[in-house]
Symmetry: D3
């Protein structure tokens, strides 16, 4: 059922990821700093450790992981206005940063961290589709680096990570399901889904939207399976990056 | 596999909806005005027809459907601050109102409406879980009434609706999948999903979040099937209400 | 001097109120919840008890009563923008909610309440003139219910209410003074006044504005007397509602 | 009934105004610029002529008069925060600037002005009670100067003023009605009223608030009469100032 | 090299200040209140003493001096919008108020003040060029008065001022360097500089901008020398004002 | 007079720049995209061409160059809050972005560009002192690339640049003047100056602040000369980068 190589703009197989890279220690000051690339999409994921938790969590002895997401104004083909200039964080931005935060908390043992916060900043330097999935996948590596640092310094006895996590987009383009859409594919997709999946292959988040044509249960199954393949590959790439 | 009646706080079957009602013409001025109840959750869905479209759509001869969502401060057990007082629309609110708008546009033939906007206002008078699914299901009825009015007045030649649409929540509570969670169930659910499904049984939106424990592909399948049952029932209740 | 029945759009006598109702326990969670109707004007008045006072009052052992007022976007003939979307609470809204708060505090013995706040939320579901007078009159009933609840629970020894309070509009329409204007009358009135009057017939607030033609001392006297009649009737209707 | 001279902090008679002055041409650029003093209260009232009207009035051939009001941070005994710093115009400020605008429009023949706006800026340099009544009384003189200038330049054929207007406060202090309260009296008054009255002795605005004790119809009558006396005196002082 | 008297619009010598005055005790409540005039530019500089420091300075035993700057809407030839109405403090305003604060702190011995703040409010009543230099020069006198008051009251043992400070503008107009530009000169200047200089002739701030034509090192030297002359004169005028 | 090598934390000579690099085409979509490094300070300068000018310039046939500046939250040793989250652009940010815009406009022949805008976005990825001088120096290269592109495409007949421009910081640290301070030096400097200088050695902006000790005319001269040396070197490095 999956269509052949000539159909995708960059000649990828339907179930093939774009070239993926995780460049650690990209900046000097952050406790974890990863420049993640999903093809031409590049996101700088910085993890900052703060020795406190938000007010609503104080006194419980538990930690917190949260995220902010932003695009540089000229990450895209035409310049977009800065959210600081408009004085408002857009609905899309809030939706994405809430998603990143939930995804990372799902694999973190907050109860064993003590009252610290790891703040993930995902700043998109260049956008070619899949910025939220790249952000989650890169932020996991930055979070791992930040927490490793706390273990090395002796502040934590062991890594408070229950599993790894990555994310990938799947869509239906011209009637065919494909993995990891770039901007050109994303802008014409009939269906657009994002999956967040743990290293053990379980689902943390499933988000699907029919942009043009509602989809069937059978199509949902195919997209789910493509995502499982994609995240299994991402998990290995994360492991390789962290082993360096 | 589905658990028995004694497990749910209101003794419902796992696949049983709460008492549902759609009260049309609840206020006088709106072109469509529906008070929808999903059990104790009550949302006033008002549809307003405006003879213009947003700036980014002008001159294309197409229509627009959009939504705003809000809770009265004391819709909930404890009072929450008004968003007008804080000067900000929260991320959660924006996420929900974008979802409602997308869901209704998915079944509307915008190209046959001319340059008019139908604005849906979903104001939650009382919240007991499922406010976004009640909003979508009620807003569809209000949209139908507003568009019928335009047909009756001769502004539209035929109804620009391609299908009906409704929404329902599904979750995993204490290990068991259940349909249409109330607040008590929602607050302890391990997994929380929302499905938006057309009258013909196709998916417009799928949103699932593992609040506590990531879920398996098999669990995703069971929840998908519960949602299909729930929305098939909601479709019939919408038809009955519109036939009055 | 008062004009005859045929002059008012709904054939009321000059000193006749519209049909008034107070529907208690309209929602489940608020400590007092009253849907008040002045003709087609419908306002949901919810009273919330909070076990604290604002910062400027802390440590004095006194209570506080305050109010917020809002209209649903489609309470009116044409839809108005949400104040949460504009990020600003309008001057008119602030003026009204300050008025409601002052009016209720005037009959409350704040010194005998202890450090609690009763927050009144007046949300207009449908507007046909007189929303601020309906809000005050309904909020009094909701406040009474909330305070009764505290007496029943033993948190208060006796009701901290010094008197009842209600409010009514008076205006000069086509040269004649009339009581309780609906929207049609209000929009053409030469003079528009609002009176807030206690159960014992004393004035808490007097607000009069000459929209078109400044008015004389004699006209002020006639309007004052109409208001005294109107509020005497409202007092009785409040008593009946509270006796149920 | 009126109390004797020893009761007021500055030994005034109950019906006596503080020393009043209107200093015209206080700044160079405004078309009308009046520094008004009511005792130690000093307000700079600048009138600016703009050759346009607000969007909602365009194309009707009518003029507009509007006002803004502000206090310098250290106009008062203790410094208050600038509204520009807080990013919000307070409810009190909005209430006052709406009142000033309505009061001046009530005596202006907007229909004979053409599409121009006169913008009144009332900036309180020093506050000792009665800032809103001083603002209205001074703004009338500034408006007169701005409109006279347009007549002299030939843009207007005749003065578009139907009458003069002034404003005064009245209150009940320690049980006695008094005129033109200063801050010391205002802060302990049981009742606080503001009257806006035309040169011909008719009412434009009546605003009364029982801060402590609701007031009777008889007390309302006495306060009304004091206000008529005060505004008759203010009218003469305005005429003298404009005759210079 | 300096041009002759006929070149300046008000026939001043190139190195001649406008008429300068410092009117102390302009308002009653501020601990220091100075109306400073640089020709037609008039700024009210009020100093307020607060018995606390900002959060970031608490517990260090040191004082703080800070400033806010604002223009009345009609200080200028055409009315400008209030920053409170726009909800934003402009970049220009922030730049100026930061400059005023830094300039005053440079001559204040914060370490000997204890934990108090002196807040300077510089409100421009009329603007004819040089509002920031007039503000700094006047604010110094107001600060001196406020601190003298604390010495007189015994809260401070000695004046915590290390030196005096004043500020002046210099520019290149039609090719010639001139001192203390008024608005007419400022609006056509090729180069615009502001110097903040202590009583002992040392520089606190130097700010120069080539509006039209970048300037040479030689021109910088001439402007620096003009500023030293101007501030030496301002220092004497400040001393005379403080000796009254 | 200049101190010897052992005094600076990175062993530089007093008049020695840090390692400088200009990496062109850092991102794909911007018309000019330069990653500039001044030692560990790294700023991404993107130039975007827009075929319109701001409203206040329309219809004059002239172009515009403007800038925005921002730091990533973790560009610094400790994380700082995003300005989009606080809803305000800080005074410091506004001051810097106004400086960058003025500096580039000083060397651009706006009259020969037609009605286009070049928008420079300077986003600091890593901050180690001198972010504003790096931004100006890098933005010049990005502006050059964007304008070259317009010449190549035939939209402009010739380059509308009158000269090159660069910027450098100078300071007095422990009593000695030094060039191009890093963060460690900047945080203890007694005096901090920034110079913006054209390729022909003329001044566009001079900004000096005595953080601790006011400085003499002689010290100003030494700092001015250091800046001239630094910018002469930067000019050559810009030329080399543009020649690649």
């Amino acid at each position: 059922m999956l269509h052949t190589i000539q159909d995708r703009p960059d000649r990828r197989q339907p179930d093939q990821l774009r070239p993926i890279s995780f460049q650690r220690s990209f900046t000097r000051y952050a406790e974890g700093s990863v420049l993640v690339s999903f093809g031409e999409t590049r996101v700088l994921c910085n993890a900052s450790v703060e020795q406190r938790v938000p007010p609503f969590m104080r006194g419980q002895g538990r930690g917190w992981v949260t995220a902010e997401y932003s695009m540089l104004p000229r990450a895209t083909h035409t310049r977009s206005m800065r959210e600081a200039s408009s004085g408002k964080v857009s609905g899309r931005t809030q939706e994405i940063q809430r998603l990143i935060g939930r995804s990372l908390r799902a694999v973190t043992d907050l109860g064993s961290m003590g009252e610290i916060t790891v703040q993930l900043d995902c700043d998109v330097l260049q956008a070619d589709g899949g910025t939220r999935t790249a952000s989650i996948s890169g932020a996991y590596v930055a979070l791992h680096d930040a927490l490793s640092g706390l273990v090395k310094k002796g502040q934590l006895k062991k890594m408070p990570l229950l599993d790894s996590v990555s994310a990938i987009s799947v869509g239906i383009v011209k009637g065919y399901p494909v993995l990891d859409l770039n901007y050109e594919e994303d802008s014409i997709a009939e269906v657009d889904m994002n999956f967040v999946i743990t290293g053990s292959g379980r689902f943390v988040e499933v988000q699907g939207t029919a942009e043009e044509i509602p989809f069937s249960a059978a199509e949902l199954d195919v997209m789910r399976d493509l995502a499982l393949v994609g995240c299994a590959n991402l998990k290995q790439l994360q492991q390789v990056a962290l082993a360096d």
